[in-house]
């Protein structure tokens, strides 16, 4: 049912898949995600819907190889079927004309950021996108981002593309030169933590899209829970986007490591 209709490699570790999913393509909005399972013994993993084509009945996923499940998914080819694909899940991004929005994406967080950048632009915002990666080869979706952004700033750790520095340097540069009304950040938890600390200093409202560990994605298990403003929230149904200044990122970082040993022990399956 969920046949892969096209595949593109963005880099060694990042793959784009376009998958048949007519119902989801019709009902999804920016910010929604799906849960995917590869194989009868496969794990359920969450992935953002990067784009959708309601007419064609397809959705686009951008996947970074991290562990067993993402690697299995990246190794599928055109014509293969994804065993299970369910969604759209989570709350859609709140889109309106905020004014000037800085969208900061790091690593594979860039993929889920794309539909948000697109929706914000279409709502009339001035969108400045900051893309961060370790080096030139890991910068993805730059061209697509340019299509929907007023400006794209690329930051790399080694300066091999764009400017040398961290994502926070890129954001601060914008803050120092113009008024920013909102910041949206998606990336590794540690990156979002520092983005959040920075924008808090400048009192700029900030939304972070959290990528916790999930199982069902429908509010049934609580694996995805985090603390926001002192209260426990389920990322899959209450989020995935939250007021970054309220999120307990240290707890989230800790919880992301819950199955580190077990996951690493499983890697023999895809090596």
């Amino acid at each position: 049912m969920n046949k892969i209709v096209s595949k593109e490699k963005f880099s060694e570790n990042v793959v784009k898949l376009e998958v048949e999913a007519p119902l989801i393509a019709k009902s999804r909005k920016a910010g929604h995600f799906v849960i995917v399972r590869v194989g009868e013994k496969g794990e359920r993993i969450p992935l953002t819907i990067a784009a959708a084509d309601a007419e064609k009945g397809t959705i686009t996923l951008v996947i970074q190889k991290i562990g067993v499940s993402s690697t299995k998914l990246c190794s599928l080819n055109v014509g293969d079927e994804i065993t299970d694909l369910v969604g759209p899940l989570g709350k859609a991004t709140h889109i309106e004309n905020f004014g000037t929005v800085v969208c900061a994406g790091g690593g594979v967080g860039v993929a889920p950021l794309l539909p948000i950048v697109e929706a914000l632009k279409k709502a009339g915002n001035r969108v400045i996108t900051v893309l961060a990666a370790r080096n030139k080869d890991l910068v993805i979706l730059e061209d697509q981002m340019r299509k929907f952004s007023d400006e794209v700033i690329v930051m790399t750790d080694d300066g091999s593309s764009g400017k040398k520095g961290l994502v926070t340097n890129g954001i601060e540069e914008v803050i120092n030169r113009e008024k920013v009304d909102l910041c949206v950040t998606i990336g590794p938890a540690i990156m979002m933590k520092f983005v959040s600390l920075l924008t808090k200093k400048y009192e700029i409202p900030t939304v972070a899209s959290l990528n916790t560990i999930m199982v069902d994605g429908t509010g049934m298990c609580g694996a995805c829970r985090i603390t926001v403003g002192g209260k426990t929230k389920f990322v899959c149904v209450d989020g995935p986007e939250f007021d970054a200044h309220q999120v307990d990122f240290d707890e989230m970082l800790m919880r992301l490591g819950a199955y580190k040993e077990e996951e690493q022990a499983d890697m023999y399956k895809v090596r």
Partner: protein, 482 residues
């Protein structure tokens, strides 16, 4: 009912033995796997009765003129009717009697809290102060016998009437509703959010208590009857109730269950190694995480504490033993008497070596530098006056606080109704607790939308969910034919 009792063969059967002889037969013992062995494997603990055992146990039933046992069964199964068929050796006939009322006898025979329902009202228990007739064991026997015989009676299906009906959720409520509507000639599609059909019967109740193959047989039967199953489809997300209406579905039955876990909101509850029983059981049952072939990880704790005293807690603690825990504990704030779990589960858990810390309540969790739970603080309790639930309420004993080592904690303190449908259907009346409001015909405030099972009752039982499915089918049929 009386007519049924007066058929010649039953009158003759009653005369074959005196009541005195019948009542002097001791209640049958279930054949169980040895506790030491079973506590480490996933095989079903109860092995069922042999035919010889069942025939003897069936003799105990007095075929009462006023079978009070039936009042104890939420769906009023014709209990003497099926038991007497067992006694005369017509087991397939017995299975047929069960199926007149229950869509899932092999399941209910295994998981009903019989000691609180049918068996509690049996003449033996009520008047003779003896152990009740083993109604549940016999029910399971008849259903299993039919399945193993290969002569499963496929119900008669009325000619298709051309009307499409949608079911949301594939737990016992949804399955029994689907079966009844298919029999009445409707074209039924069941939508299920997960990648497996069966609801709690699959993701919650473990293999050692309810093997998946037992549930699969029922699902296969429904498929044979023409019921369609759509997995990975969330009504209210993937497709809306409005979409269903637009696609020509004339009625919708919501059986989406009470799948949301509750936590206690105490300090340290988000540490690694602390999770809901839903997460734990889903990983093990639905995702098969303890199988090395499975990609889903599971942490196998050494000192596992399970908070709660219901069936879910017992299932979790016994699962922990089977995954290799050295110490598996139930932590429950009341005493054993107030535990809502089935008696048999408590007994089995004890035999398998589960420790019971009753009158203890967790107040805080403490973790190591990696954020993994290492200790829990427990407040000791004593029992006070009965509370609103009629059970004696637990009261803290000031200063009586204990600390124990744990590396995994399963929180099993109840579930809330699934809010997906209530949130996504405009104008649907729900209670403050989030359950859907229905009339006696299980019809909601939106006429084409019926609901039943845990989404209406909060966390209840398999048999009540199943009964709701059947009542809703009868009522929706009437409504659609008006």
């Amino acid at each position: 009912m009386a007519a049924d009792r007066n058929v010649a063969w039953r009158e003759d059967l009653r005369k074959t033995m005196s009541n005195k002889e019948r009542t002097s037969i001791p209640r049958v013992q279930m054949n169980e796997l040895n506790a030491g062995y079973r506590a480490r494997v996933r095989e079903e603990v109860n092995q069922g009765l042999t035919k010889e055992q069942a025939l003897v146990e069936a003799k105990r039933c007095l075929d009462c003129p006023n079978p009070t046992c039936m009042q104890g069964c939420p769906v009023s199964i014709n209990i003497p009717g099926f038991i007497k068929n067992i006694e005369r050796g017509e087991i397939l006939e017995a299975a047929k009697v069960l199926k007149e009322t229950s869509a899932l006898p092999a399941v209910c025979g295994r998981v009903c809290p019989q000691e609180k329902q049918c068996e509690s009202q049996c003449f033996y228990k009520q008047k003779l102060k003896k152990e009740a007739v083993a109604i549940g064991y016999l029910e399971r026997f008849a259903a299993d016998y039919e399945r193993d015989s290969g002569h499963v009676s496929v119900p008669e299906i009325k000619e298709k009437n051309g009307m499409k009906i949608a079911v949301v959720g594939s737990g016992p409520a949804g399955l029994s509703f689907a079966g009844d509507m298919a029999k009445k000639g409707y074209s039924v599609t069941v939508f299920e959010a997960l990648h497996e059909i069966g609801g709690v019967l699959k993701y919650g109740i473990p293999e050692f208590r309810l093997p998946n193959r037992v549930v699969d047989v029922e699902i296969d039967n429904l498929s044979k009857m023409g019921v369609l199953f759509m997995k990975d489809c969330i009504v209210g997300k993937t497709i809306s109730v409005k979409d269903l209406e637009n696609e020509g579905f004339k009625g919708v039955f919501v059986a989406s269950g009470a799948g949301l876990p509750r936590f206690m909101n105490i300090s340290g509850e988000n540490l690694i190694g602390i999770m809901s029983s839903n997460e734990y059981l889903t990983r093990v049952n639905l995702m098969d995480a303890s199988n090395p072939e499975s990609d889903t990880p599971i942490y196998k704790g050494h000192n596992v504490a399970v908070i709660g005293g219901g069936n879910t807690a017992m299932d979790s603690v016994r699962t922990a033993l089977r995954l290799g825990a050295d110490r598996a504990m139930i932590v429950y704030r009341r005493s054993e008497e107030e535990m809502p779990a089935r008696l048999e589960e408590v007994k089995h858990a004890k035999e398998e070596g589960v420790e019971f810390l009753t009158l203890h309540n967790p107040i805080e969790y403490i973790g190591d530098e990696k954020g993994r739970v290492t200790k829990m603080r427990l407040q000791k309790m004593e029992l006070g006056e009965p509370d609103a639930s009629g059970r004696r309420s637990p009261i803290e004993i000031p200063g009586a606080i204990e600390e124990i080592d744990v590396d995994e904690v399963i929180v099993s303190v109840g579930v809330s109704p699934n809010p997906l449908i209530p949130n996504s259907v405009e104008g649907l009346e729900v209670t403050p607790k989030g359950t859907i409001v229905v009339n006696e015909g299980m019809q909601s405030s939106i006429p084409m939308l019926f609901a039943g099972g845990d989404i209406v009752r909060g966390g209840a039982t398999v048999i009540l969910a199943m009964g709701d499915g059947r009542s809703a089918a009868a009522a929706m049929d009437l409504y659609l034919k008006k």
